[in-house]
């Protein structure tokens, strides 16, 4: 199937912002046909059963320290001793952004109007990009928190309620990225750009209605391959 829209390729931000960030451009350009997620950190031979490890510990690009983000005051965890936990706990949105703040995927699980979405995207970018490897993978964000992980130039962010389980979502991100990597055979940023409709399918297989739907990589990939065979 031929589905690479030509006029849009030219509009891809890589080219459009070429003047603004040559270094990044050249790096990205040299890698457009190569994986940018994992190859730099792990030779694929080392990945048992096709598993890969995150590069979150070793950022690819030099990090410039800036002012630390200012989280909101903490909120109680919504559970009292012997009381009944009542607070809602769900994913509010999932964002994939690159370092320049360009959104590669936005999946919303609650209603926001368009202006609000744009504001959230900008705020998330501002909050997440200033953090380094010594920081936690969790940031308080408005009345929620963001669990994020960085893979090469991309930030995968999941926004959840404050009383939800941080590590479970952190690993849900990694599980998701491993599926993408397997599905796209060494995924890179441009895979996500041009196969956006497939990425949405992957997301819907793994997350639905703000909840984790399926966690087995084998099952998800099997389903995805079945769907691909229908094309």
């Amino acid at each position: 199937m031929h589905l690479e829209p030509e006029p849009c390729r030219r509009k891809s931000p890589v080219a459009r912002h070429a003047g603004k960030r040559d270094r990044l451009f050249s790096r990205l350009a040299s890698r457009t046909s190569k994986p940018i997620f994992f190859r730099t950190t792990i030779p694929s031979g080392l990945c048992a059963r096709g598993r890969v490890s995150s590069s979150a510990g070793s950022p690819l690009y030099p990090w410039v320290p800036q002012q630390l983000p200012e989280p909101e005051p903490p909120r109680s965890r919504g559970t009292g001793a012997a009381g009944v936990r009542t607070g809602v706990a769900m994913i509010r949105f999932i964002l994939i952004q690159n370092r320049a703040g360009k959104t590669r995927l936005a999946k919303w699980y609650m209603q926001f109007d368009d202006d609000e979405k744009q504001k959230l995207i900008e705020e998330v970018h501002a909050v997440v990009t200033v953090r380094d490897a010594k920081h936690t993978n969790f940031v308080e964000f408005r009345n929620f928190k963001i669990i994020y992980r960085r893979y090469a130039g991309l930030y995968f962010c999941i926004c959840v309620d404050v009383n939800d389980n941080n590590l479970a979502y952190l690993e849900a991100i990694h599980n998701f990225v491993e599926v993408l990597n397997e599905y796209f055979h060494n995924v890179c940023e441009l895979d996500l750009v041009f196969n956006f409709y497939k990425v949405y399918t992957v997301v819907d297989e793994m997350f639905l209605a703000g909840e984790i739907r399926e966690t087995s990589q084998t099952k998800v990939l099997k389903q995805l391959l079945m769907l691909q065979s229908l094309e």
Partner: protein
């Protein structure tokens, strides 16, 4: 960009445009899909798309997966509540759901789950549970159906009633397919929070499922083992489901305890992999298990083990783990079983405060120190927090200040330590010391004789610093004005020195502080006659007497005049030492709670206390003294009692009682949730404060006071969610009739209400003439994306304008006879709705507003009341008599007033109460 590629791009664009232009001819499925996909891509790059919707909808009815998929994706991403399209879309979804093709059913279900609009809920809420529990549904479709139903339930709970499918949904926890169990657990957890009874059976099923996962070997679950951890996400979800319930009954409980112990044991085992994914997945389960242990708060052994495990994490090299351990320990600290165990880690936590690089980790450390603080370690913790404050991030300073202030007060054994701590706070972080904090220190100093001298000495010394914070000047000014005499014996702090010290700061201060200092000066005139001349000179100076600020000028003029004309005795009376403040819970605590968010009934109480502190004049001396200066009549007049018309034949109500009414935190019933607005309305007839309305999003509380024909009502709107309310607009709606008789004035409130925040709105009420209806309070706001609209009757009723009248028996009967005109009497005989308790009945009659007259009625079982309804146009005398009949469980209520409509209305209102 090179010219070549530009040319290429332009050609591509030209082709695209010409394709689009030519597409009024029927496109085949492939081209339609291609163009819709391109439009979608353009939209995702951030450009607006205003056509192509119809083509996308057409794609939905294609039989090819790819075309259908793009169609659904377009609909999901560019949802549009275009009614015509919604109908077509729903139609296509309906066909796909009925197709029995699992791929198409999946697409349709995902679309419903992604859009989740009300129209879709209306169309499919009945269908989806059937798909979910049908025996022949494919596993992957079940997964989607479960979460799709969850989405509809969240968006429109009223459209997804719990039905006969519930028990079958619960049994999905036993399903072979772990993916189905994962999805079902999410659904059950959400439904169980709302209907705990219906889903009770899920507890034992969840425990046995969890037990099977925990005891499985790492290879048993195959696809669901993630880096050697068996089904981590499902375990977490099951543990969260269990947190919807109290500890289960003993049999299940034993099994659950085994599971939790197994999870804790695994944390101690050597890791099966060095990968961070392994430890993260394992710890995700561990933290959720600890969360459940803390939630149950019933197994001391597990609580202490959990605490020890977290203690190990406090020093872990992973920042994530240190952060989560601090956070999790906070909740453990509040359990009596593990509080001591948490305290053993104090040094590590203090160290974290000093060394952590991530501000959010340091903040968790502050939270934990606050949570673990008790009398034994308060001094150490407060000292550490104070020293951290000097370098703390600006974003969290205010919160730390509040915490220090609270801890210092709560655990002060020695109030000199408390005073030192607060003064230190002001010195280190004066800008972040809110009014509540310095009000509070003054309240405490005034209420405690033993610390006043020390406080005066300490503030005097602190004021010596060349640069001191304005808040210190305020505290210093107030305390020296009250207790400067206690240190005046020392030549180093003679009256004149004290005055010069304060006056040296005067010109650097803002207007409110200067006003406070002027009051201090006049208090000095009383305390130290020897400095009277100096102070009069200062007050007389042009910069005071002709000050551009009217408040300062007025104070200078009045104080100068007072100091010249008043005799020593009068001065001593007017400028007497402030009386002790009534003991009440710290307003700082309220402020911290407010900052923290969750709004509850207790928060409402806090807010009231905070406000009534202001009513009392706070610690600002000027308020009390200026009003005393400008109104020569006795204090009763301040309350407006002097203007009360003479009450016929009867002693006036004691002003003492009224004072209590105005200032006390009258007990507002921590009301059980009453679903009916009418019920709530009736409850407010005999009381003024309490919760008027509450649902899952919003709580509305009321506090009101009425005097004669005037009243003021404070409406508190509490946002119970963690999400902002937008366009928040409460409106008062009065019918034309009502508008003529009842005048309501209110100011609009801020249109956004932050999650967990509470806003208040004051309503000024004037009763023009007697009225029967009640105004309606309508509240509209956006929560998330949905529009919310709530209407409640506002309990402003005629009896609120009652003034009780005491009278003797013969007066009563004389008046009773005068009101013998048949229109003036209204009688009602009704069955008792509540147990017939004499004391409760008395309280209700008093709450209703009339005086309860004892020993008036010859039959002591009867109740007799009298009062006057005040309106702007008239005063209406009212007499009432309530005769209970215990055998028949009936009451007879008789009202006699000088106006027929009033008799009618009061009778209606009061007869609803018994």
């Amino acid at each position: 960009m090179p010219a070549v590629s530009k040319g290429d791009g332009m050609r591509g664009l030209a082709v695209f445009i010409s394709d689009i232009r030519n597409c009024d001819k029927a496109l085949d499925g492939y081209s339609k899909k291609k163009y819709v996909c391109k439009l979608l891509f353009i939209f995702l790059l951030g450009h607006d798309i205003d056509f192509g919707h119809m083509e996308a909808v057409n794609l939905l009815s294609s039989n090819r997966y790819t075309e259908k998929q793009i169609g659904y994706l377009f609909i999901s991403v560019l949802v549009n509540s275009n009614s015509e399209l919604i109908r077509l879309i729903n139609n296509a979804i309906k066909n796909d759901l009925a197709s029995r093709n699992p791929t198409f059913m999946g697409l349709a279900l995902h679309c419903i789950a992604n859009v989740g609009s009300r129209e879709m809920a209306e169309a499919f809420a009945g269908e989806i549970p059937k798909i979910l529990v049908a025996g022949d549904t494919m596993d992957s479709v079940k997964q989607s159906a479960a979460l799709c139903l969850l989405r509809l339930h969240r968006a429109s709970p009223d459209l997804v009633p719990v039905g006969d499918w519930t028990s079958r949904v619960v049994h999905l926890l036993n399903d072979q397919h772990l993916g189905v169990v994962t999805a079902a657990t999410s659904l059950i957890t959400t439904l169980a929070q709302k209907n705990p009874e219906e889903f009770k059976t899920s507890v034992s099923l969840a425990v046995s499922r969890l037990s099977r996962i925990v005891t499985s070997a790492s290879t048993d679950l195959q696809d669901y083992t993630y880096y050697f951890v068996p089904a981590p996400w499902l375990s977490v979800k099951l543990l969260r489901l269990l947190q919807c319930y109290p500890p289960p009954d003993p049999a299940v409980r034993g099994r659950l305890t085994e599971c939790l112990e197994a999870i804790l044991n695994k944390a101690q085992e050597p890791p099966k992999s060095k990968k961070v994914q392994h430890s993260n997945a394992k710890n995700a389960v561990l933290f959720e298990a600890i969360s459940l242990v803390t939630h149950h708060d019933s197994e001391p052994n597990l609580l202490v083990r959990a605490c020890n495990q977290l203690g190990q994490f406090l020093q872990h090299r992973e920042t994530n783990l240190r952060y989560l351990a601090l956070e999790s320990m906070c909740t453990l600290a509040s359990s009596e079983f593990s509080h001591e165990a948490v305290k053993t880690h104090i040094e590590t936590v203090i160290n974290a405060l000093k060394t952590e690089r991530d501000v959010s980790v340091r903040q968790r450390a502050v939270d934990l120190l606050y949570a673990m603080c008790d009398r034994s370690n308060a001094q150490q913790i407060v000292a550490e927090m104070l020293s951290y404050l000097e370098t703390a991030d600006y974003s969290i300073r205010e919160e730390i200040v509040l915490k220090v202030a609270i801890l210092a007060e709560k655990y002060a054994v020695d109030y000199t330590w408390y005073v030192d701590t607060i003064l230190n706070l002001i010195r280190i972080a004066g800008d972040y010391v809110s009014e509540e904090v310095w009000y509070r220190v003054i309240q405490i100093v005034i209420n405690r004789d033993d610390v006043q001298g020390y406080a005066a000495k300490t503030v005097f010394e602190a004021l010596q610093a060349p640069a001191c914070h304005e808040n210190l000047v305020k505290v210093g000014g107030y305390i020296l004005g009250e207790f400067g005499n206690l240190i005046a014996g020392d030549p180093r702090s003679s009256p004149l020195t004290q005055f010069h010290l304060l006056h040296s700061k005067f010109h650097l201060c803002s207007v409110p502080t200067r006003a406070l200092l002027l009051s201090t000066y006049i208090k000095f005139v009383n305390l130290f006659p020897e400095v009277k001349g100096t102070i009069q000179d200062v007050l007389r100076s042009d910069s005071q007497l002709k000050n551009a600020d009217v408040e300062l000028q007025q104070r200078a003029v009045e104080y100068l005049r007072l100091s010249t004309v008043a005799s020593t005795d009068i001065l001593a009376t007017v400028l007497e030492e402030m009386p002790p403040f009534p003991e009440r819970e710290s307003s700082i605590l309220a402020k911290l709670k407010k900052k923290k968010g969750p709004s509850t009934v207790t928060d409402l109480e806090e807010a009231k206390r905070e406000r009534s502190a202001d009513v009392n004049g706070g610690p600002e001396p000027a308020l009390a003294s200026t009003s005393a200066v400008s109104t020569p009549s006795p204090s009763a007049d301040l309350l407006g009692l002097g203007a009360a018309p003479p009450v016929p034949a009867g002693p006036p109500p004691s002003s003492g009682g009224l004072l209590v009414d105005v200032f006390s935190d009258s007990p507002s019933a921590a009301a059980p949730l009453a679903p009916g607005s009418e019920d709530n309305f009736a409850r407010f007839v005999c009381k003024n404060n309490g919760v008027l309305f509450e649902n899952q999003l919003l709580q509305i509380g009321l506090k009101s006071e009425f005097r004669q024909n005037l009243g003021r009502m404070f409406i508190f709107y509490g946002n119970k969610t963690s999400t902002q309310f937008l366009n928040f607009t409460p409106t008062l709606i009065c019918s034309d009739d009502l508008q003529a008789n009842l005048s309501l004035q209110t100011k609009p409130v801020d249109p956004t209400v932050d999650g967990g925040a509470q806003v208040q709105q004051a309503v000024n009420i004037e009763c023009v003439s007697d009225f029967t209806e009640a105004p309606v309070l309508n509240i509209q706001f956006r929560y998330g994306g949905t529009f919310q609209n709530v209407s409640v009757k506002l309990p402003i009723t005629l009896n609120k304008f009652f003034q009780p009248t005491e009278m003797a028996s013969q007066d009563f009967f004389q008046r009773w006879k005068q009101l013998s005109n048949p229109q003036q009497e209204v009688q009602s005989i009704f069955k008792a709705k509540h147990p017939m308790d004499t004391e409760v009945t008395k309280a209700k009659i008093i709450g209703f507003g009339s005086a309860l007259l004892e020993e008036v009625d010859p039959n002591p079982a009867n109740f007799v009341g009298a009062g006057i309804i005040h309106t702007r146009t008239a005063q209406i005398g009212c007499l009432l008599r309530l005769e209970p009949n215990l055998q028949a469980q009936m009451y007879r209520l008789t009202l006699r007033t000088s106006r027929e409509t009033v008799s009618q209305r009061l009778c209606e209102l009061l007869s609803e109460q018994f």
